[in-house]
Amino acid sequence: MLDKTGIAQRIAKEVKDGYYVNLGIGIPTLVANYVRNDIEVEFQSENGVLGMGPFPFEGEEDADVINAGKQTITTLPGASFFDSALSFSMIRGQHVDLTILGAMEVAENGDIANWKIPGKMVKGMGGAMDLVASAENIIVAMMHTNRAGESKLLKRCSLPLTGVACVKKIVTNLAVIEVTSKGFKLLERAPGVSVDDIKNATEGTLLIEGDIPEMAF
């Protein structure tokens, strides 16, 4: 079974040379730490920066240089700042190659819910609705089950949707899953996790074809 870092590490393998990538808050933010050094990738944050670098050294934080998670950041040579309209031109206009974000629920048709629990929690969708409605390549990073042990990979989402039929791939603590027209297709198992473990933790249709390899890092 993977921890959050492990999920981030596995997703980092999906990041290809020449990609512009938008990372959501939480696990997705960690992905930046594990991208190979020999490829060129630029990270975009929807609050208005392209070419994000690592967190600043202590004492070098700048209140005017943050990411969408409101964390202080740095920029790399070649970076740029821009306004929110141009930022979403990048996103809506499909100039960003890969979007990695968290979710509360994903349905087997690719629907995603991650912004609202009616009557309980309403933080808002931020840029997530724009991202999932626009991106051609969306990977969800999340735990396979919620705190109550219930599956987050469902036949249909029960929570208000963020986007419809948009998720292409899911990486959880248990598995790598591709969203296909027939349901969740199991691609890889996490180390030490059996196909049955994944089956038990998946409410939606799980397609298992042939031997399912263990994730390699």
């Binding site: 208005g48 050294f57 005017d64 808002g124």
Partner: protein, 236 residues
């Protein structure tokens, strides 16, 4: 040049009153119009509708107006990090309209640009598209969204001049430029007012035509919401 400079924040906010709709720049606490918010708190006007990406934190930014129950309705994309906000919203004291961040930006920009409405894919198939017109273009579904209407836009820039020209810094830029000229009156506060002619005409982010009043701001706190650092010993 047409001089937009006003003497102080009192003059800058002349005409604000109960029940108005305001746009406020900023993302989180970065680039928020601190002087305008402080003056709004001081004046105690209420029943406000505020269009702002976020709602501040409990004791800073728009949180200060929420504490004093001056806000009737918030139009935002993300309102986490604010307990008082969540309490007022869940109890129904505060009306909240949550909309996708890109749609929020584009509805401001549409108001600035005289575009009454446009189509966006964001929110299609979700509750934010309920009761909105949807339409297919090139095999994909889109939602019709309208330009915002607001009485005042309060923005904060890094540098400005008396002609109202503005330059922003880093990610404190965010929604500030797209709100300029998107309301009947745009009030810009700047960290540094520079002499006319000092800003390079090539490098002005917002030309003064979009700004009705500009002031030299004071006492900027520029609070950091999530101070994240790395150790000097680490790689990189």
């Amino acid at each position: 040049m047409i001089n937009k400079k006003v003497a102080n924040i009192t003059e800058a906010l002349e005409g604000v009153s109960d029940g108005m709709t305001f746009m406020l720049g900023g993302f989180g606490l970065s680039g928020i119009p601190e002087n305008a918010i402080a003056e709004l708190v001081k004046r105690g006007i209420s029943g406000l509708t505020c269009i702002s990406n976020n709602a501040g934190v409990d004791d800073f930014g728009l949180g200060l107006l929420l504490q004093k129950r001056q806000i009737k309705k918030m139009i935002s994309s993300y309102v986490g990090e604010n307990e008082e906000f969540e309490r007022q919203m869940l109890s129904g004291e505060l009306e909240v309209e949550l909309i996708p961040q890109g749609t929020l930006a584009e509805r401001c920009r549409a108001a600035q640009a005289g575009i009454p409405a446009f189509y966006t894919p964001a929110g299609y198939g979700t509750e934010v598209a309920e009761e909105k017109e949807t339409r297919e273009f090139n095999g994909k579904m889109y939602v019709l969204e309208h330009a915002f209407k607001a009485d005042f836009a309060f923005v904060k820039a890094w540098k400005g001049d008396e002609a109202g020209n503005l330059i922003f810094k880093g990610t404190a830029r965010n929604f500030n430029p797209v709100m300029c000229g998107a309301a009947k009156i745009t009030v810009a506060e700047v960290e540094e007012m520079v002499p006319l002619g000092q800003l390079d005409p090539n490098q002005i982010h917002i030309p003064g035509i979009f700004v009705q009043r500009i002031i030299q701001g004071t006492h900027y706190e520029k609070r950091i919401e999530q101070r994240t650092v790395r150790q000097r010993s680490s790689e990189n």
